[in-house]
């Protein structure tokens, strides 16, 4: 499958109407294609982890895992599995040449200090102004657990979101304002979903820019979302 790289923002919205919405695997490939060569990236636990499968060695992208490593390799298989070497999702991983280990305070200093170029996170909701909710449903019977989500949200130079555009009940996850407890304020710059790619953020004054759509037109999206969509 070839999908046009979406990084050409400002060159107009691309509507992919000859196909359905993206699968999560396809979406991972789109995001991988949009990450510039040679940058430092943190892939959040869950779906964003899949982006690693679509990064090529030529891109020279270095993966950070917040439990204390740069130069993380693919998931470990068989004899490679070492309980002392895991990613932030506690899945056994491998080490690439040029890796470095560091402790938690150093690892989060790296994030908080703005040294990571990109991080990709999942989300419950993203607002047009870039607010992110991805750590707590707000239900009273939920046990709250934040992990590194808030640190990642405010730390990376660019925060990308990878999610389905609609929840299982059909409600949009790209919203005028988050109703779930926030993870970060105005921190998201780009939202990658199965139905389209969007630019959001505090500078956009509620005006979400549509970079690409998949299996749906911009005008059809307008009827399903409560946010103001602008062509890129």
């Amino acid at each position: 499958m070839t999908i046009t790289n979406t990084t050409t923002a400002g060159s107009g919205t691309v509507e992919h109407l000859d196909r359905g919405p993206l699968s999560m695997g396809e979406l991972a490939a789109v995001i991988a294609g949009d990450i510039p060569a040679g940058v430092y990236v943190n892939l959040g636990i869950g779906q964003p982890t899949r982006i690693a499968d679509h990064l090529s060695a030529e891109q020279g992208i270095v993966l950070h895992t917040e439990n204390g490593m740069l130069g993380m390799g693919p998931a470990a298989q068989g004899d490679e599995i070492d309980p002392d070497l895991t990613n932030a999702g506690k899945v056994p991983v491998t080490e690439l040449p040029g890796a470095a280990y560091f402790h938690h305070a150093d690892s989060f200093a790296m994030m908080r200090g703005g040294h990571l170029d990109v991080c990709v996170l999942g989300a419950y909701q993203v607002a047009a102004n870039g607010d992110l909710a991805n750590w707590h449903t707000g239900r009273s019977d939920d046990i709250p657990a934040v992990g590194g989500a808030m640190d990642l949200a405010i730390g990376a130079k660019s925060v990308f979101i990878m999610m389905t555009l609609f929840a299982k009940d059909g409600s949009p996850k790209l919203v005028p304002g988050c109703t779930y407890p926030l993870t970060g304020v105005g921190c998201v710059s780009r939202v990658y979903t199965d139905h389209g790619v969007f630019e959001v953020g505090p500078d956009r004054r509620q005006n979400v820019s549509v970079i690409a759509t998949y299996g749906i037109s911009v005008s059809a999206l307008r009827s399903r979302l409560d946010v103001r969509l602008a062509e890129a």
């Binding site: 636990i45 895992t65 917040e66 439990n67 204390g68 490593m69 070492d82 309980p83 002392d84 070497l85 895991t86 999702g89 506690k90 899945v91 080490e95 280990y101 560091f102 402790h103 938690h104 305070a105 690892s107 989060f108 200093a109 994030m111 908080r112 707590h136 019977d141 939920d142 046990i143 709250p144 657990a145 934040v146 992990g147 590194g148 989500a149 808030m150 640190d151 405010i154 730390g155 407890p181 926030l182 993870t183 970060g184 304020v185």
Partner: protein, 231 residues
């Protein structure tokens, strides 16, 4: 901190821990968790403990076993809820353990501040979220920050890879995680290691935790737990 004690057993290593103590417990999930020290702490019997750790136990081992033994009053951590945190979940829902959730990086930085003599620091993490509610905030250079205070432990219980006889430590891969920071923030730092080597055999350029931070060391047999569905 004066000279490091090398002890024969984990039981000797945890001797004297008082009821009500605040204990920093190393590990990220199972990697770097000081299993032998926690098992010894369960035998030792200290109760009403405040535990500071990243997680709130996995399966039935380590912190989960300590929780199950009913010794923990409160857990301060970043990520209690996991697919295998059933021990904690049950105690929490039954109101038998308190919980304070802190962003992972703040947990690390607040312990670093405790070890580094910093009184408090303005941190951009969690601004505008429920985890900053009630905390002092300030705009600095156009960005909003939350004031965060140090987290100091009466004890730190951590696992490292090797110690020399002086108490210098090296870790192994991502099992390093919270160990070096907790070592600085614990009034008494107790370390289990896989190997004790002669002083002078660790590379001085590669020592991660200098001996000044280490009070007690015990060598334990390698044990690795795997918990299905851990994350």
């Amino acid at each position: 901190m004066s000279r490091t004690e090398l002890l024969e057993t984990a039981d000797e290593a945890v001797a004297g821990i008082e009821d009500g103590a605040t204990i920093l417990v190393g590990g990220f999930g199972l990697a770097g968790m000081p299993f032998d020290l926690i098992d010894a702490l369960i035998r030792q019997g200290a109760k009403d403990l405040m535990i500071v750790a990243n997680n709130a136990g996995n399966g039935e081992v380590g912190l989960a076993a300590l929780l199950k033994a009913g010794r923990v009053r409160k857990v301060l951590c970043s990520f209690p809820r996991q697919s295998d945190s059933w021990v904690f979940d049950e105690l929490y829902r039954a109101g038998k353990v308190e919980l304070e959730v802190v962003p992972q990086g703040n947990l690390a930085e607040r312990m670093r501040a405790a070890g580094a003599g910093i009184g408090a620091f303005f941190c951009p993490t969690a601004v505008g979220t429920p985890l900053a509610e009630g905390k002092e905030t300030r705009m600095i250079d156009g960005r909003e920050y939350v004031l965060e205070y140090p987290i100091k432990g009466d004890y730190a219980l951590i696992a490292a890879h090797r110690a020399d006889r002086l108490g210098n430590l090296v870790y192994r891969m991502t099992a390093r995680n919270f160990g070096p920071v907790m070592a600085t923030a614990g009034t008494t730092t107790i370390v289990q290691v896989s190997e004790v080597v002669d002083t002078g055999t660790l590379d001085p350029e590669a020592v991660v935790t200098p001996s000044i931070y280490v009070d007690r060391v015990v060598q334990v047999d390698a044990r690795h737990y795997t918990v299905q569905g851990a994350r």
